[in-house]
């Protein structure tokens, strides 16, 4: 599936909020672009590079260094499994395996119909709730593989309606 075209106007409006030529703004710019576009398409990064006055290779190197930036389109829904230590000892790896099995994708991937992206995160600091799954921004604590399976199943059903 090819990525949808990027609305350059939206990109430029985000860039306009940041001073031109200031390299220190780079990471904030990437965050804001991603908040606007859900991911960081190439055209947006190219424009950001010229706005900030940094080489494209530099920007690409930075964007791929940090885990928080996504250079591929992401699904409509995001399922994030916390892999922090507290969640790990309480069984987070089993949650990832369950989700991978149910969705037929690996963590970090998006379903072919672009409905859901499965991600992991290294601790969101809600350790008392572990194991924790964040589904579209909502925290689900004390998760079990069985419950996660049903959560994902519900989404699949909604999709087919």
């Amino acid at each position: 599936m090819s990525a949808p075209p990027v609305d350059i106007g939206r990109v430029d409006r985000v860039l306009a909020r940041h001073p031109a030529g200031v390299q220190g703004e780079l990471i904030n710019v990437l965050h804001d672009l991603q908040a606007e576009l859900r991911y960081l398409p190439r055209q947006a990064l190219e424009r950001a590079a010229s706005h900030l006055g940094v080489p494209e290779a530099h920007l690409f190197g930075v964007a791929t260094f940090y885990e928080g930036f996504h250079l591929e389109p992401r699904g409509e829904h995001i399922c994030t499994v916390c892999m922090g230590t507290a969640c790990h000892v309480r069984g987070a790896p089993r949650l990832v395996e369950q989700a991978e099995r149910d969705l037929g994708i690996r963590a970090g991937q998006t379903t072919p119909d672009m409905r859901l992206t499965l991600e992991t995160v290294n601790c969101v600091g809600a350790c008392a709730l572990g194991p924790l799954v964040i589904f579209d921004g909502k925290y689900h604590g004390n998760m079990t593989p069985d419950r996660l399976g049903r959560l994902i199943g519900k989404l699949a059903k909604k999709g087919s309606e």
């Binding site: 703004e25 530099h58 940090y66 089993r94 369950q98 099995r101 601790c123 008392a128 079990t144 069985d146």
Partner: protein, 616 residues
Amino acid sequence: MARIGNAKQLAEYRKQVKASKPESRKAIAVCAGTGCKAFGSFELFEAFREALARHELDRQWDLRATGCHGFCERGPLVLFFPDGMLYQRVKSSDVDEIVQTTLKQGKVVDRLLYTDPQSGDAYIKERDIPFYKHQRRLVLEQNGQIDPCSIDDYIALGGYSALAKALAMGPHRVLDEVERAHLRGRGGAGFPAGRKWKTCRGTESDKRYIICNADEGDPGAFMDRSVLEGNPHSVLEGMIIGAFAIGADEGWVYVRQEYPLAIERLELALEAARAKGLLGEDILGSGFAFDVHINRGGGAFVCGEESALIASLEGRRGVPRRRPPYPAVAGLHGKPTNINNVETWANVPLIVGKGADWFRSIGTEGSKGTKIFSLVGKVNNTGLVEVPMGMPLRQIVEDIGGGIPGGKRFKAVQTGGPSGGCLPADKLDVAVDFDSLTAEGSMMGSGGMIVMDEDTCMVDVARYFVGFLKFESCGNCTSCRDGLERMHELLTDITEGRGTDETIALLEDLAATVKATSLCALGTTAVNPVQSTLKYFRDEYEAHVRDKRCPARVCKALISYTIDNDACTGCTLCAKRCPQDAISGQKKGPHTIDQDKCIKCGICRDVCTYDAVRVE
């Protein structure tokens, strides 16, 4: 919102704010920390607001959505002032009863009280609950009392008086005070903050920066998150005092993007402080100017390392560089830069306000003050705890943490985040301070404390941490990048039954090189989990390689699931839920697992209500 022009006006303003609160000082504090929010505390807060309005109690009771109270295990938490009664696991549907019984009649709703699962004792007041009783909450004290979005709440409790005091003292006396307090950085290394500040101040420059490191990356640690979310002004006040002492006019908070609430609260705090004249030009009429910007982290654990953090702030890949020169001499944009973490900054107003002597009276010879830990994992009372330095580990785990759930046996506690070490039961009497933990092969780190029980496999834990760190390594040094990847491979071999004694020997050899030859602390401490588990739990490694057995029954390749015929009632639930259709059997007859099909996901064991699924 008028600017506060000087210290005297600040004191007057504090009086005004206090006068505007209910005279009875009655308040309901609903915890709005991340944990409680996930348990529905936002809805609960709205229910309280609606109920108070409906019963016309909103003038008598001051309703606040506060920061994290710490006892996350029991959320949502509701604390009543002034008497300090705590209700736990409160639901919106409880609100009407609380209003009728507690607010109107002054009676206790017993079922909402915390009841100790072991002794069966119920506690009315927060401070009597064992979880809180052994703590000494200084930095976290106000977390449960104030609305973090209200600068007035903070000022009412004495906020920004330390700043006023510092401005009157002058920079050099503030520096001396902080040095004399022997405040050590709470971010991990424990470097004396006062010395760092003086170095920064002492470096000739036209410009100096200060940075608040809020890139709390340790998995299993969330104290900085809670302080920022619950009491952002305390961090901000610390930074302003620090900037004044150091002679900086610009500051940054480098905060994790994964903490959106903390960012939001911090932004509000900055705005409010600017409007009040506590931040920006001519702070409290002193002529001192200082402002703070927020930079969201990109998601890289290594950026907790100060030179990597600076690289990130400059819009570069977060790769550490060799120090010296230290940032205090040449930091952000080459200028002298002082970096402290959230908890360190939050200690500053306490030190300046109450004095170095008071601060030095808490803690041990080498480690002064308190430390916040996130006590998580296999422990009954998970949450944030703040204790004086030097408290024995046992007291934290057993008295505050309430021991291990489900009657399981304690196995280890991991301190110091991914680079810390795992300490076994016979090290539980170690005093928790910077030097004692390091002496035992672990470290204080930023304060993660993860409890593990008999069901935790120490080889798996070591593999988990090394896996985390190889992913989080910046990838610069051969030893760290390739060494950790290879250590992870070796650990995987062990957990999957391919290991031999030579695997362990090579693992140890490699660990020594990674530790000795990596550039930054990520690499040099990355081997702690492996070295400490090899030191204290070698028998578990040996069981994996010699007997091909995982004593904790965690490592999938070394375990198998079976169904106990005597216990199985033939309810068929496991067979229905098995994702591989590996379970067969007649209804009401015993079931069996086809070992060739079984992927050891453990769902059958989770769903079995008769405890008939065994793991060997």
